[in-house]
């Protein structure tokens, strides 16, 4: 089961890494030479052509997409590493390392949620200005509420887990 999860996490990590890399390249060229971004834009489902005449807005939205993409990739990198270290099938699961992992993915999820919220609010602002934008889910900035909910839930679980680590450590040091 963990092996399948490991493979899935790897696939998702590579996919998200490639996507984030693409967004970063676009953001870079949008900052350096906005004229060639039109030729670089490879994502058929993300039609940002409405933004090509507004380089500043294009740069800002691609920066938000890049940050969100990188955070998602980092989250799955953490999942890959924890599955690689085989810390989940340990006879003593309440390890400080796993506690730190839970806290990290909780904070990352919260950050992703906040970035998505900022991105969708910004896209809403641009749409209100009359700029044609694709649906927010194509910008990979949707589901901010889901990410925030996941982050908060994980934060609560991480706090409970920390107590579990303390109890296990106390139990180990009881003779």
């Amino acid at each position: 089961m963990l092996r399948i999860l490991h493979i899935l996490a790897w696939i998702l990590f590579v996919g998200l890494g490639v996507e984030a890399g693409g967004f970063i390249v676009c953001a870079f060229f949008a900052a350096v030479n906005p004229a060639i971004v039109k030729n670089l834009w490879l994502w058929q489902d993300v039609d940002l052509s409405g933004l090509f005449s507004y380089p500043q807005h294009f740069l800002e939205i691609t920066i938000l997409m890049s940050i969100t993409g990188v955070l998602k990739a980092v989250l799955f990198y953490l999942v890959v590493t924890i599955l690689y270290d085989k810390k989940l099938d340990s006879p003593q699961p309440f390890s400080p390392q796993l506690g730190r992992f839970l806290s990290r993915i909780a904070y990352l999820s919260l950050l992703i949620g906040l970035c998505c919220r900022a991105g969708s609010a910004y896209a809403g602002y641009l749409a209100a200005q009359g700029i044609k934008l694709p649906d927010i889910r194509y910008l990979r900035l949707d589901a901010d509420d889901v990410w925030l909910f996941m982050g908060l839930t994980l934060l609560v679980i991480a706090q409970i887990f920390k107590r579990g680590v303390a109890i296990q450590s106390e139990n180990e040091l009881t003779v």
């Binding site: 450590s169 106390e170 040091l173 009881t174 003779v175």
Partner: protein, 70 residues
Amino acid sequence: MPIIVNLDVMMARRKMSLNELSEKVELTLSNLSILKTGKAKAIRFSTLEAICKALDCQPGDILEYTCDEP
């Protein structure tokens, strides 16, 4: 921690090795070592009873309270 474990003192008085005590109280060497070095966070009454029986002493001979505050 203000609780000091004097297990090594009592073992020296009774001229008993850690291995011997481990066999008598049926406790692993690592657990006895945790207790001896003062790393233990808690001790079960059953363990204390077995140690007192093996070393023929009182709990007060093994555990000592010292006040840390000035």
